[in-house]
């Protein structure tokens, strides 16, 4: 078996022990590749504990800019004895197994189709450093140093990154650079010809891209979107949204006297967190919270209140695997039904679905406008993969002329004007026929505009009523507002890949969020085999008309999502009446980001089943592959 040979196109996985300080070394590795101008996509696959259990960090390098997971591992950096044999066996034939050779490999590690690269990391580190804590941390830097030789990482890029990381503590930079040199020198001396994977600087691919995690991006979106109140409760994987928001606020939201133009309160639970958001939004602030699935369950009661009482609220939902506690540190897209219909009764919530950090920024900022325009909760549906992993992204851009859209919110003067020109103001009067009413903020007017907000049935003037007619009018108006919402949603991204849209390609694929990158890659691969599939990346629920048209225009639409029960497909069938046979599911729900390999093979199997050439489930079933 020939060793794998590739420049700027491979997958490397680091197998570490959680809590051993590998994260900063691995981040340094990925950042160095990014700074060489090469598209890189790092992903953490980590356990839900602090210390001791296995953790992996998978880095995909791809010149073509494919940033989803590919599938398979070309090089394994194995520093965890617990998983050594498993890691060994997961390598693709021709791959490279980089391990700590201070101890010999286990007898079970016996493949002749891979290249073994043993470097005595522990011994080298112990020989050079005396401080036990430092030894542990620097052992990881030593392997980065060794990789710099094996993979041709520019050494100055690494040392510059170390200098930047420790610019406030330069004394710590010295041992880190020493550790890099130790690894590099050892590898150079012993493995001059060992590795045919290499990295080569690129000048024109990444342009002005940034490398950032989705949670930081969402936090910036909230900052730029004008959020002034955040109530929150810590939960993986959303915690860093608020932590980043606080970090940015401490720089950008200070008065001259140092007081803060923001209130961030850690609540006692998720119920209270959303209660704070609703109270603040009702009182005219832009407010948000960040949570994950279990938090959404707790917030359901308040989501129903905000929907029925028509109070804006923004929730960043960084999804993780469920149900219940599920796998708290693994990713999924499995909160769609729970959020779309969160709360009892006939409740429907607006969902926005970003696929990269730039969209986390943009859609979170947009969520505040939409929540106020629609006077309803808006949930930004991120996930762990997007939220907690670094991604290459378009840079953030803000239009300095952009005003906050406060929707139909009347000041005292506007209320006077309203009543002069129209009719007596009523909180729930549908004056414009779009289902959206005019609201006032407490304290806005000395004599007019006050009303009573409640989750109980109310008439057009916000008075409590159990009159069936008034209740039905309110519910139908809320549905009208839902129809209006469809016209405000972000457009889907549609690519007709057939020569002409009118050519009538029967095949379409629909995906959303972090499924996007692997889906595009898979469909590109199929195109090379002359299997042409048009694509649509959905960015919201409800779907705007072009999304509905896209599905109508295709005979079969593959719906690619990361959950067991085909939740988006269910929503599409329930809300738009598509025939179930038309929507064919491709489902991944193993907790790890979906791979292009999986999608490619699944699509092929479905297509083969459609033509009856193999025993795959028939397309019409829409079930699992």
């Amino acid at each position: 078996m020939e060793p794998i040979q590739s420049t700027n196109d491979f997958v490397i996985r680091f197998a570490n022990v959680n809590g051993s300080g590998s994260a900063s070394a691995n981040n340094l590795f990925a950042k160095a590749i990014f700074r060489m101008g090469i598209p890189v996509s790092p992903k953490n696959i980590f356990p839900s504990n602090i210390q001791g259990l296995p953790t992996w960090y998978e880095v995909r390098v791809n010149d073509k800019g494919n940033l989803g997971r590919r599938g398979g591992v070309d090089m394994m950096v194995a520093t965890n004895g617990q998983t050594l044999v498993q890691d060994y066996n997961e390598l693709l034939p021709g791959g490279y197994f980089f391990y700590d050779s201070t101890r010999p490999l286990f007898d079970e590690c016996d493949r002749d189709d891979i290249v073994e690269i043993g470097i005595p990391l522990t011994q080298l580190t112990n020989d050079a450093f005396t401080n036990p804590k430092l030894r542990q941390l620097l052992k990881n830097i030593v392997y980065v140093g060794a990789l710099s030789h094996l993979l041709d990482i520019e050494f100055t890029v690494l040392t510059d990154a170390i200098g930047q990381q420790f610019r406030k503590k330069p004394k710590l930079a010295e041992p880190n650079i020493q550790a890099l040199e130790i690894g590099r020198d050892y590898a150079k001396k012993h493995f001059n010809e060992s590795c045919r994977l290499s990295l080569s600087r690129r000048e024109n691919i990444l342009q002005d891209s940034i490398l950032v995690d989705g949670n930081s991006a969402a936090a910036l979106g909230a900052l730029y979107g004008g959020a002034t109140v955040a109530g929150w409760y810590p939960i993986t994987p959303s915690t860093s949204v608020i932590e980043a928001f606080e970090r940015f606020s401490n720089i950008h939201r200070l008065e001259e006297d140092g007081s803060k133009k923001v209130a961030i309160l850690q609540a006692e639970d998720e119920l209270s967190a959303l209660g704070m958001v609703i109270g603040a939004s009702w009182n005219g602030s832009r407010a948000f919270t960040a949570t994950s699935g279990p938090g959404i369950s707790l917030m359901a009661e308040f989501l129903g209140l905000a929907y029925f009482a028509e109070v804006p609220a923004v929730v960043v939902n960084v999804q993780r695997t469920g149900p219940s506690t599920g796998m708290p540190t693994r990713t999924q897209q499995s909160d769609f039904i729970a959020t779309a219909y969160a709360s009892h009764g006939d409740t429907k919530n607006v969902l926005l679905i970003p696929c990269d950090p730039a969209e986390c920024f943009e859609l979170t900022a947009d969520a505040f406008d939409l929540a106020e325009r629609l006077q309803t909760p808006v949930l930004v549906m991120s996930d762990l993969d997007l939220g907690m992993n670094d991604h290459i992204s378009r840079p953030f851009v803000w239009d300095d002329n952009r005003e906050y859209d406060r929707g139909k919110t009347l000041t005292g003067e506007e209320l006077d004007e309203f009543e002069r020109n129209r009719e007596r103001w009523g909180r729930y009067l549908d004056v414009d026929g779009d289902g959206i009413c005019y609201r006032t903020i407490p304290g806005a007017h000395p004599t007019r505009g006050s009303y009573f907000t409640r989750g109980s049935s109310h008439d057009e003037y916000a008075a409590y009523t159990e009159d069936s007619g008034a209740y039905q009018r309110a519910m139908l108006r809320l549905d009208k507002k839902w129809q209006t919402a469809k016209t405000m949603m972000p457009e889907p991204h549609i690519k007709f890949r057939s020569t002409s849209a009118q050519a009538g390609n029967p095949l379409g694929a629909l995906f959303f969020g972090t499924t996007t990158h692997s889906a595009y890659e898979a469909i590109d691969r199929l195109a090379e085999e002359r299997i042409i599939i048009d694509t649509m990346r959905l960015r919201s629920f409800p779907c705007p008309q072009p999304a509905v048209d896209f599905i109508d225009q295709h005979e079969i639409v593959f719906v690619i999502e990361q959950n067991r029960d085909a939740q988006m497909r269910t929503l599409l069938i329930a809300e738009y009446g598509f025939h179930p046979d038309k929507l064919v599911s491709i489902l991944n729900f193993d907790g790890k980001p979906i791979t292009a390999d999986f999608i490619t093979e699944s699509l092929k199997a479905k297509l083969a089943g459609r033509t009856g050439t193999d025993s795959s489930p028939h397309l019409a079933t829409g079930g699992n592959v």
């Binding site: 730029y224 007081s259 109270g279 009702w282 602030s285 840079p395 851009v397 009573f452 008075a463 009523t465």
Partner: protein, 350 residues
């Protein structure tokens, strides 16, 4: 439909210093049972706000769910109100207060709302010392679901169904003091002479002012021993004999001086011994305040009056150091760092 009061008032009705009549502080007509103590508390809130010349539109009134939580509809009709969900008033009030620190926040809750489903939110509003008046209209039972014991019902007391409560009760004032409330008082709904000044003091306080107001439930604190019990009335009433008949009763009123004890006969014939704190008591001594409550309890008395005050109180905004400007008044120029700052952030990510 909602009930509204007739608009006619005597033309020579007194105005306060801001030019408002007392009627400007009233709300819709109450739909609570006749004689309900909650209506007396609503009336005391109206009186206190009128006398303090608080501009009605500068008040936000918030509540949870339950009989007591309906009352914000019955006072301050020109203020914005928020009737949220069961036990969650404190978080709504917290958010509202964060958005605009310049309004007066009156939170109304009940003993079910506060001491059971909302205990968590109550506790955390206390420890954050949110600047609001938190009034618990405490009748020891769940009125809207027809009389179950609440967590403040005394151990051994029998509710409508006649079964003595087997569990210890929660003393909200003691908890409030221990959790950091900076103003704690207890009163009786029928003692307007005491209640109105207490509400005024609470309004003047910077921080969370907690008022636990004993407020008899005319309908469900009857026991099967009472001739006014629900069951008795149903069995003996020839007038309607309907399931939902609720006897009209008089509001219980009382009046007594500081340091004195007053016996109050409740609707079910039981008695309540109210003891008004003497003026000399040092209400700034947190530990002594809790002792005083316990001592009164041992003597079978319900201590009323201001029980604890922290004169150096800092509210949530003070603690987290927010700007003196209301956050909801900040504009895009105040809030948005702009594209130049964003470009610097982009550069830090390259």
């Amino acid at each position: 439909m909602s009930y509204t009061r007739p608009t006619f008032r005597h033309p020579e009705q007194q105005k306060n210093s801001k030019g408002y009549h007392r009627r400007d502080y009233e709300g819709a007509i109450s739909t609570l049972c006749a004689g309900c103590g909650h209506d007396s508390i609503s009336s005391a809130i109206v009186q206190a706000c009128f006398e303090m010349a608080i501009e009605p539109h500068r008040v936000a009134k918030l509540s949870g769910i339950g009989c007591s939580s309906k009352t914000p509809a019955y006072f301050l009709g020109k203020s914005h109100g928020f009737n949220s969900v069961h036990g969650r008033m404190p978080s709504i009030a917290t958010g509202a207060n964060m958005a605009n620190r310049d309004l007066l926040y009156i939170g109304v809750s009940g003993d079910g709302d506060t001491a059971s489903i909302g205990m968590g939110q109550f506790a955390h509003a206390l420890r954050r010392n949110l600047n609001m008046n938190y009034i618990c209209m405490n009748n020891g039972c769940y009125g809207l679901t027809k009389g179950q014991d609440s967590a403040t019902a005394d151990k051994g007391s029998a509710g409508k169904k006649g079964k003595p409560n087997p569990f210890e009760s929660i003393d909200l004032c003691e908890i409030a003091i221990q959790l950091g409330a900076s103003f704690v008082a207890r009163s009786f709904s029928g003692d307007k002479q005491q209640l109105v000044p207490l509400i005024k003091a609470a309004i003047s306080h910077n921080g969370l002012a907690f008022l636990d107001v004993i407020s008899p439930c005319v309908t469900f604190n009857n026991t099967d021993r009472s001739t006014k019990s629900y069951q008795y009335v149903r069995e003996h009433s020839e007038a309607t004999g309907t399931f939902d008949f609720i006897p009209l009763q008089r509001e219980i009123l009382t009046r007594y001086d500081e340091g004195a004890t007053q016996t109050v006969v409740m609707h079910d014939g039981s008695t309540l011994l109210l003891e008004k704190l003497e003026q000399e008591f040092d209400v700034t001594d947190q530990r002594r305040s809790v002792d005083k409550l316990e001592e009164a309890k041992e003597r079978g008395r319900v201590l009323t009056g201001v029980i604890y005050v922290n004169p150096a109180s800092k509210d949530t905004h003070d603690i987290i150091e927010t700007t003196p400007r209301p956050l909801n008044s900040l504009t895009r120029e105040d809030l948005c760092p702009g594209n130049d700052a964003l470009e610097k952030i982009n550069n830090s990510l390259r």
